[in-house]
């Protein structure tokens, strides 16, 4: 696979595609110089399902369930991005209550994604216990979301113009109880992991992304914010009900694994703050816009809509030629760019750090492969 530039003193080590710490089917060819990595080449596409091609062969409604399958860990953000892009295209305004419900469910989903990363990543590093702790926490959110969306993972909950089902008092009190519980767990998480000397030694100063690299490679999400750039679509390009809430964008200083870890942990706390405010201010009213046509036939034109997912910026680019099917849909997924920088950061690192760096950018391979 690596075709040129291999010197005789190096050898190629194959990682994946079936490997527990590649989080999906990712294959990386590592050119090794002893224990150090001389170059790396990821091989992707094992999970390519041609979502963009599918989009051209079905109407706008029919493509909606695909969104939960692109990034299965933060499916609601992908629902949100696609719905907002189509709403922009057909000129529909979403009622305020629906926007609030979208934000609440979206942030709960972000917490599940970060919790899963937290557990799985530490397991990559050899710590088994945190995995059990955070799956315990995550289960509570899955049960809550299951009640209103009907699914536990590949959600398809948002519709063009709003949401199909209202939230009830049981859901609200369940979310409040959960947030209280999650906050009480931070102490355990920090005692177990953040202050753990083994973790600190593995994470500090390893896999550094500089600000320049982030610009050149188009890095977004916690991986970017770990490097100290406060770019979060929820603040930088406010959408939905996010401008109504008070929250912070956590950033790191050095751009190493440790900073990306801290950013994600602090983001979960910010998500809790957003959810609490949204529950407190939840307005009454309709949850669906009136007069959303059953058969969409948007005028010719194009639209780009960005949203912040747990891994970074998800952009939906739709080109319409006035037909009932989209002429072209491009899904700009965050892990795609993030993974391409990872190759650079592997260089001159020890082979033992490969898994540590790979896990720290939180890749979801089916999202890259689409």
């Amino acid at each position: 696979m690596i075709t040129s530039g291999i010197e005789e003193k190096t050898f190629v080590l194959n990682l994946g595609p079936q490997h527990p710490s590649t989080h999906g089917v990712l294959r990386v060819l590592l050119e090794m110089d002893g224990e150090y990595i001389a170059s790396a080449e990821p091989v992707i596409g094992y999970g390519h399902r041609a979502h963009e091609h599918m989009a051209e062969n079905r109407n706008y409604h029919q493509f909606l369930p695909n969104m939960g399958r692109v990034d299965y860990l933060h499916a609601l953000a992908f629902n949100h991005g696609y719905c907002m892009a189509v709403e922009k295209l057909i000129g529909v305004t979403v009622p305020e209550r629906a926007e609030f419900i979208r934000v609440i469910t979206n942030e709960l989903n972000r917490i599940t994604s970060h919790l899963l990363w937290f557990g799985a990543y530490l397991m990559d590093l050899g710590a088994f216990t945190p995995f059990l702790y955070c799956f315990d926490d995550r289960e509570h959110i899955l049960d809550l979301l299951d009640r209103i969306t009907g699914s536990r993972l590949t959600y398809c909950f948002f519709r063009f113009g709003g949401v199909p089902k209202d939230i009830d008092d049981d859901f609200i009190s369940g979310v409040r109880t959960f947030i209280k519980r999650l906050r009480s767990r931070w102490v355990d998480y920090h005692n177990l992991v953040t202050k753990n000397v083994i973790f600190i030694h593995r994470a500090k100063g390893v896999g550094v992304f500089t600000k320049e690299q982030c610009q050149l490679y188009g890095i977004t999400g916690p991986s970017l914010r770990g490097s100290g750039i406060p770019y979060d679509i929820r603040k930088s390009e406010p959408y939905s009900a996010y401008p109504l809430f008070d929250f912070e964008i956590p950033i790191g200083d050095n751009g190493d694994i440790y900073d990306r870890y801290i950013v994600r942990l602090r983001e979960m706390e910010q998500s809790c703050r957003i959810i609490e405010q949204a529950l407190n201010k939840l307005p009454n009213g309709p949850i669906m816009a009136e007069k959303v046509p059953k058969r969409l036939k948007p005028a010719a034109g194009e639209v780009y809509q960005a949203v912040e997912t747990a891994r970074g910026e998800f952009g939906t680019y739709i080109v319409s030629n006035g037909d009932i099917k989209p002429y072209r849909i491009k899904l700009r997924v965050p892990s795609f760019s993030n993974l391409s920088l990872m190759v650079e950061s592997f260089k001159d690192n020890l082979v033992a750090d490969v898994v540590a760096i790979l896990g720290s950018i939180d890749v979801v391979i089916p999202e890259i492969d689409r």
């Binding site: 992707i44 596409g45 041609a50 051209e56 770019y231 034109g301 680019y317 002429y327 689409r370």
Partner: protein
Amino acid sequence: MLTDSIPKALSPLNLEKVAPGEYAKTGYHLEVTAKPEQMPAVAQAMLKEGCFLESFTAVHTSREAFTLVYHFANFYELCRTAVRATLPEGAEAPTISHVFPAADWYEREVYDLFGIKFAGHPNLKRLLLPEDAEIHPLRKEFAAEGETKAEAPK
């Protein structure tokens, strides 16, 4: 303000169109039309303005041509620029991967799915499909098994 400084930075390149976009409708602050051969210079200018390559793709617009669509954004100021370049069927576009390494994979993806070649790309091979695939599935004339054939663009 980037909406002022980007047109200023692009003006020496004599591009076909540099105009403000309808942000509320399309999500673009600036819309630019360029020739494919001007893209490396456009990318250089965008890099100097502190922008990053947000996304790059192609659209099979007609039987004779593709539209290359580049999206640029900025980490510190909200300003999205869409740059479009029409590429005739069979022609090669120059790579911008030497300016933005992010374009390396995007161009490989476009080559993979549309069959568009990028001159000067260091490693132009398929990205998502297997290496020995013989199809370019996002071209409009392509139809998978069991699919009704998409209409060829007019």
